[in-house]
Symmetry: C2
Subunit: 363 residues, 2 copies
DNA sequence: TTGTAAGCGTTATCAT
DNA sequence: ATGATAACGCTTACAA
């Protein structure tokens, strides 16, 4: 209490030693810089943030002192003072799958440009992890905005988010009441199936995505719908046993192929896979079974995965990195005061014909 | 100033409207909860954190009120008060490559368990991004510890880190003066090459990793060294033109194969690739060139990439997720007061013989 | 068991 | 252009 009457120098020393005793807070504070530069903390704050109304002389001096002392502002302190953390959250059901890792990369590009940080919330495939996110931890006051990667949110979660009132956007899948950026999955799926139909295929199998999971993806469902609609429009039959379950991974594609080919009777001449990874799984497994692609079966995927070109995979491309980058830009623009910056947008997709599709062999 | 004499209820209202005026800080504060529960903020703090010395009656009441109001503590505020942010930083040169995305996943597993968050610093392959990390931004006061993924740090950076004095560990590569977890790259590389030698190969090519990049990886160098040592020990010649550059990606593997096979004269009968992705690139490109694996060339990689099994790739496996998980555990243990928890450790690797290696054909 | 109040390191509003 | 100083929301001795 007497401290406030002691000279600056001494005060600082006192505070420093207190700190050490508590074992916390290493590092120099704005006060240290102020003292060393012979100015007030206010001026230091202005100087280091590049704000106006600081003479270039003092600014220079302060900056010199600051770098000399190795000063970096405490994000907690400035966060508390401003109400902004300068970090956005990225919520992903997985991180090591193609779509998600690409999206994270894209988001990071924009964040880096705008000097924001990213905190990553990975659900790791477990629905249970969500609990932590939406209640237990203090996620919300830790981020200025949230980028949701390809997952639906429950109504409860949306409400919670609403209350927090931070900008939100979802990438890669439609979510009711939310702005979202992603390809038109119906159009993309249709394009893929239509390509097969145009090639003359009549017996087309489907390896679709899971929709039983608690991640309640919407994407798989609309790709399935697209398949059925195109088939019906073309007057082609579909068979339940030719619609195999998958979860977007290579392995599930392999398994789907095995199940498909172990079925008695006629084989399909083409397979539409809801993701490139599954398509690749199908192709690898076909090779093992001595089934030639595309001579015996045509295979088409969706994504244009990194490996697609090397494997000659015909696919419908999308660019998760660009989608996420754009979404992040919107989020940041919104935070910068541009109300309405966050909005829904359809990302481009494109049919890329390579070597895994061909007209069916008519034996 | 008169506010402090006004009743609690009114005070809150006043503060709230002030906040709205400033446009910031949505959300209920600890004071709101305290007021609503008729207790002090100290008690609320204790209650919500599960600290002792709170009667179960009041604790229940407080918790009820808290969830009712949707209270979550401000991480900025508690961070400022405690000096801990409850988040650790993960520094990665890339995020969408196999090793890194797996490692991130592993780290997250442990963080989730211990109720920590992750902020991801992606260098995106640019060395330039480093500048931001190690000076411009306030990274350091934002994280309690740092997990470095497979990159060397400059001496300057290490010094900086030292000053900050936060626990640090690197995964997947040796860095001087730092604790690190990763496979013994020399042993792993030797194991792979020796496998080729044991098979009877004498003409072995190398597709190594880049070491010219500013990320100054150490890993590629020691794998190259292992190659040379094993070859020399076996009395086998190596040829400079059979050592092709790569950067661990599929594409670079494809290019390396093309360069290798466009060379005049004798072809190698086996190729040791410093990563599975490069090995796969080699295999895809070989297929295009009509070169059969393993009849014409054997190919071995390192990693046991997700696609390795499906492709039948012989490799030396490692588990980046486990490595990162363990590293993270050490970091967190250290933060929990277990001095010395962070230490170097060798992660396991294992030769997995599949279908891409075989004895050379003696025509 | 509970409350009081002094920090924590910034930012921002006023003055000057 | 610069300086005091009151928040910001929480934690934690210390008192009660």
């Amino acid at each position: 209490m007497a401290r406030r009457f002691i000279s600056r120098r001494v005060t600082i020393v006192a505070r420093t030693s207190e700190r050490s005793l508590r074992g916390g807070h290493s590092g120099v504070s704005i006060e240290d810089v102020a003292a060393a530069a012979g100015v007030s903390t206010a001026t230091v704050s202005r100087a280091v943030r590049g704000l106006p109304n600081v003479s270039s002389a003092t600014r220079e001096k302060i900056l010199a002192v600051a770098t000399d002392l190795g000063y970096v502002a405490s994000s907690s302190a400035s966060g508390l003072a401003t109400g902004r953390t300068k970090t956005i959250g990225v919520l992903a059901p997985f991180v090591s799958r193609w779509f998600f890792s690409k999206a994270i990369e894209g988001a990071d590009r924009e964040l880096h440009l705008r000097n924001y940080n990213m905190t990553l919330f990975n659900l790791g495939g477990h629905g249970s992890n969500r609990v932590r996110l939406f209640s237990k931890t203090m996620v919300y006051k830790q981020i200025d905005a949230l980028l949701v990667l390809c997952m639906a949110l429950t109504h409860e979660e949306l409400e919670h988010l609403q209350k927090i009132d931070i900008p939100l956007i979802v990438v890669g899948g439609y979510v009711e009441e939310c702005s979202y950026i992603g390809i038109d999955d119906y159009a993309a799926g249709s394009l893929a199936v239509q390509h097969l139909v145009d090639l003359g295929h009549r017996d087309i199998a489907l390896v679709h995505g899971d929709n039983q999971t608690d991640l309640n993806f919407d994407v798989p469902r609309v790709r399935i719908l697209a398949f059925h609609d195109v088939m019906e429009r073309a007057g082609l039959p579909t068979r339940p046993e030719w619609e195999q379950w998958g979860d977007f991974t290579l392995l599930s594609g392999q398994e789907a192929f095995r199940r498909l080919w172990s079925l008695p009777g006629k084989k399909p001449t083409a397979i539409f896979c809801a993701s490139d990874e599954m398509a690749m799984g199908v192709i690898f497994e076909a090779a093992k079974a001595g089934v030639r692609v595309p001579q015996d079966v045509s295979v088409i995927g969706i994504d244009d995965h990194d490996f697609a070109e090397a494997m000659g995979l015909t696919t419908v491309s999308q660019h998760p990195d660009d989608q996420a980058e754009l979404a992040t830009r919107m989020l940041l623009d919104e935070l910068d005061g541009q109300a309405g910056a966050v909005r829904s947008l359809a990302a481009p997709h494109e049919l890329i014909v390579r070597g895994t599709t061909a007209p069916p062999c008519t034996p």
